[in-house]
Symmetry: C2
Subunit: 344 residues, 2 copies
């Protein structure tokens, strides 16, 4: 028989004071690094804190000011690109008192509202919203309530800072690479979008726009061919199926994200085809998956780590000075050419 | 020039009362669903809350009781198995008032101490610790402070509940599968471990133990061959390099986790070899990566989703009744045979 568990009870400042044989005022002074606590007193109190495992309550601290908590909202923890951004955020916050807490919004507006409300409810000192779908009006309202940095979404706000890569340029890099290999029938798989604001601001829409623009620039306007699905593995699978069923099959597919390219490769394998011998395939994001040897996916490196460090730096600045003008950081993407693309 | 941002200011209960034309006491009653607030009053207050975007402070609520926050500590957000567990946790909490906040511990004891301290500081109502390395003594101390469920670690505690799969059985499934295909020189890549408690409790150690036991059971004791690295892609790469350099190369490699198998496949590709034609490769976890068509990795399904739902259910029970006896849930793994293993 297991012995009954010790009931949960939080160690309080009163326990610490009793254990150290001092007053609660003395403990409080030590905790705040206030004047008037002698070295001996400090040592006694610190020893009692360690022995009892005392943790001051962040709720109590929250009422007095900062909670030292940064919320990061991700659409989806499966997309490995977001892990790169998180690495950058953590690297920038390393050595500070801030703790990063992550919440997944499940790629939906109600999910995002739930997460941002939860972060505001918990008095987080600042939030980093990655590729949010939320309306501009609501984003502005969030940013007026809590210091906010928006990552991976274009557009300009007077209340929040933004960090994004230049998706228009990035899409052009892929088209130029494939056109340089002799491909003309270069198709694209985009994330379906109808909302006019999102068509201007979301990376997926800007990539599709960059694709169209680059196709025209290379004299390939007549070969523009877009399958409109979602930025998921399933979306890539369905998009590839649509493109493979065309009367004139494309010779190259530019998937709007690496996770979409995974679905494309999966669909090719199921159709008995492979990249690049049958069809060249390129992604976008340069995730660890793309760099994985047996896959070796041609893609665009948008420097997720650097996006993360920039976002965290801007957020700390905004927490310190909420009235400074907003900043828009745009990073230049680079091509990572690998083995899934080859000459026609 | 951007116009200067509106300074951050939180909407307070006083603003809501003023906007609704009622007293702060009335607003407070509505917020607490207390008796004495008429339907008209409720409607007025709710409308004012919506219009102003008022969010009650969770810090203030924290001091009164629950924060409705569940902390989930992951070693690493890149391992796709943990995403399956999170899906299960979220599915179980869906429709409740609880918000899950995730923190990565970076696979180190100091990292874990930092995260668990941060969760306790923030008055989280409960924590789910996934594959923690933390000492038993410290785990018990955490569980005495906050309701705790430990996932993916064996052993029995009087203060926290556990959920794990039967790693000993799972390792045996792989060895039986490979032996059934005619393999005799079946090697294993383990996560290096020396701490005696962890050797008894950590899934990696139990899997290595299960491997050794199954090899003996199949009369293959003389072929036991273990490369001791880490449960990372890099660890798999290094382990495979070691095994490929043996005077007698194994014909099959059982990697202790899918992410380790990724490194093995990468090392094989770099050596001009492939699975299963040169060497059969198996993993453990049945992540989305393993199921991905072009990889199609043989692995063990430990039902991450189900692990997550069990963990969340136990945690809610523990939050409701902190004195109930602890529960140990052990789930039975199943074999997922795919294309990276073949007859010798």
């Amino acid at each position: 028989m297991p012995r009954p568990p010790v009931p949960t009870r939080r160690v309080t400042i009163i326990d610490v004071a009793r254990h150290a044989g001092v007053s609660t005022t003395a403990v409080s002074k030590v905790l705040r690094n206030a004047y008037g606590a002698s070295p001996q007193m400090q040592a006694k109190v610190r020893a009692a804190i360690d022995e009892l495992g005392y943790r001051p309550s962040a709720s109590a601290r929250g009422l007095r000011g900062q909670t030292y908590t940064i919320g990061v909202m991700l659409p989806d923890i499966r997309n490995p690109f977001f892990a790169d951004i998180l690495d950058g955020i953590n690297a920038q916050l390393d050595g500070t008192d801030y703790q990063v807490l992550i919440a997944a919004s499940c790629n939906s507006e109600p999910g995002e509202a739930h997460v941002t409300d939860a972060m505001i409810d918990r008095n987080m000192d600042g939030v980093i919203l990655i590729a949010p779908l939320t309306s501009r009006q609501r984003l502005d309202r969030i940013a007026r309530t809590v210091p906010t940095v928006v990552v991976g979404r274009h557009g300009h706000s007077a209340v929040y800072d933004t960090v994004a890569d230049d998706d228009f340029v990035g899409a052009g890099l892929i088209v130029a690479h494939l056109a340089g290999l002799g491909h003309r029938r270069i198709a694209h798989i985009e994330h379906h979008e109808t909302d006019p604001v999102r068509l201007a601001e979301m990376p997926n829409a800007v990539r599709a726009d960059g694709y169209r623009h680059a196709m025209h620039a290379h004299g390939l306007g007549e070969h523009i061919d877009i399958a409109s699905t979602t930025y998921t593995q399933q979306g890539g699978y369905l998009g590839a199926q649509q493109l493979l069923a065309r009367p004139q099959r494309p010779t190259a597919i530019f998937a709007g994200a690496d996770i979409v390219a995974m679905g494309v490769l999966d669909a090719l394998a199921d159709a008995g085809l492979s990249a690049p011998s049958d069809i060249s395939v390129a992604g976008y994001d340069n995730t660890t998956f793309a760099a994985f040897g047996p896959i070796s996916l041609t893609t665009v490196d948008q420097a997720g780590h650097q996006i993360g460090t920039n976002a965290a730096r801007l957020l700390l600045d905004r927490i310190t000075d909420s009235s400074r003008p907003t900043t828009q950081v745009k990073l230049s993407p680079t091509l990572a050419a690998r083995r899934t693309t080859a000459p026609l």
